[in-house]
């Protein structure tokens, strides 16, 4: 999707990790196209079904999304009876089904366990929306195909390039590969620890103490 950010026309797709320490994104983006989600507890109504009606979302469409996430939830449930993680997931689904083209999620993965992180990653990757994610650097690195760093200007590139060229905290997986490559290995950066270990096995040597 083509977005205009700070008078630049940029083609964005998929999930983009945002580093925006000075909160400048909203100065640069057309607010009519973006849905900003930074709280996962506040709902306009008291039940899932009434929330769907509020946002004009077809309950059957919503139920199909629940199936994609492997969730079995009664849409007549009251939010007060649901766990924090389920409320977060419902908020994400409603946001994806909304009519905005771009969704910014802040602190999405915090306090989610492995299972919910996995399902949400898959769900957002297949959502066909531009997802901007402002979250902890490790989760952003795993899920994002691009990183966007916003200062007075905007730079968008592969996560590894943005991390390398900016004074950012290094994600664990990136750091591991960088440390190994500094020792002379030639591993590809990967979002999957198993792939990195496969690389170590292929190119490295077993160390027996």
């Amino acid at each position: 999707m083509e977005l205009t950010l700070k008078d630049k026309s940029i083609n964005l797709d998929g999930i983009i990790g945002i580093i925006d320490k000075e909160n400048k994104l909203l100065e640069f983006i057309n607010k009519d196209i973006i849905n900003i989600i930074d709280s996962y507890n506040d709902f306009k109504t008291s039940t899932i079904n009434s929330e769907l009606i509020f946002y004009g979302i077809d309950p059957n469409t919503f139920k199909k999304e629940l199936i994609k996430l492997n969730l079995d939830i009664d849409i007549n449930s009251r939010f007060s009876k649901l766990s924090s993680s389920i409320k977060k997931i419902i908020k994400v689904i409603i946001s994806v089904l909304s009519n905005k083209d771009v969704i910014l999620f802040r602190n999405l993965t915090i306090e989610l366990d492995n299972k919910n992180k996995f399902f949400l990653r898959q769900y957002l990757k297949n959502s066909k929306k531009v997802i901007l994610l402002e979250d902890n650097i490790n989760d952003m690195y795993i899920i994002s195909n691009l990183f966007m760093i916003i200062t007075d200007d905007i730079n968008i590139d592969k996560p590894e390039i943005i991390i390398k060229n900016n004074d950012l905290e290094k994600p664990y997986l990136y750091n591991l590969v960088e440390l190994l490559n500094n020792k002379g290995l030639k591993l590809d950066y990967s979002k999957n620890l198993d792939n990195i270990i496969k690389g170590i096995k292929e190119y490295g040597k077993d160390i027996k103490e």
Partner: protein
């Protein structure tokens, strides 16, 4: 000595659930279906029980609720909390005024607590002028105003930029904490860890003693990266001894 006890909780889906909390920075870690929130709500009096939960020998029951409440300070997440007043000073004075503190005691209490968290400069500010970290620290100050025996904290450090520093302040001042989270962030500062899984404590102990327990695999918890890395390298027989220093571990992998 135990400061918090739960004896045979058989309500809210728990079955013969027991818990003993000692002094220090205690952490209950559980995945998203473990019922952490329910337990938090029970200990915080949001879900009533009758002579099951005690803190500092004060039992939670209908007749003793006021005494029980004095023993706890509750810290919820910022997005679940609404400040009542416009300024920091008004917000902090309000509960102390209700407790009947004198004006001079209110002032000294507020000054002491704010200083503890390096918040001296916010006393006269409006709450809407505070940044997120200042608001988060203010929640902790609010919970500490009446010198409770223990702080019951819900996942706030996962959302806090400077969390290690704030936890160190709590520990250095010997403030007892029971912290609920899904994350092992800040694990090096935990004194004692309880793993809650499906309404049961399945492991407890110091972090170093529980983190390699195979039972953890039955949960959906995300272990610290260095532990996951060691586990996988051991499984692949690439190393035969754990090393929790990433530089040393990399040295072992490739010299």
């Amino acid at each position: 000595m135990d400061i918090l006890n739960i004896n045979s909780l058989n309500d809210y889906g728990f079955s013969n659930f027991n818990l003993s909390i000692k002094e220090g920075f205690n952490v209950i870690i559980g995945d998203n279906n473990s019922s952490k929130s329910t337990l938090f709500n029970i200990i915080s009096c949001f879900y009533p029980t009758d002579n099951i939960v005690s803190i500092n020998n004060q039992y939670m029951n209908k007749d003793n609720i006021n005494n029980y409440i004095k023993e706890i300070g509750i810290v919820e997440n910022l997005n679940k909390f609404s400040f009542l007043k416009n300024t920091v000073l008004e917000e902090l004075s309000y509960p102390l005024d209700n407790l009947g503190y004198s004006k001079s005691l209110i002032e000294s209490t507020i000054n002491d607590k704010l200083k503890l968290f390096e918040l001296d400069n916010i006393k006269d500010k409006k709450i809407k002028e505070l940044n997120t970290l200042e608001k988060q620290k203010l929640l902790i100050v609010l919970a500490l105003l009446h010198n409770p025996k223990i702080l019951i904290i819900d996942s706030i450090f996962s959302y806090m930029e400077d969390s290690n520093k704030v936890i160190e302040i709590l520990k250095n001042n010997k403030i007892n904490v029971l912290y609920f989270t899904s994350s092992f962030n800040n694990y090096d500062l935990f004194d004692y860890v309880y793993i809650l899984n499906n309404k049961e404590i399945i492991i407890e102990g110091e972090f170093k003693d529980i983190i390699n327990n195979k039972i953890l695999k039955s949960t959906n918890l995300e272990l610290p990266f260095i532990n996951t890395l060691n586990n996988k390298l051991l499984e692949e027989s690439i190393i035969n001894r754990r090393d929790y220093n990433i530089d040393r571990l990399v040295d072992k992998l490739w010299n």
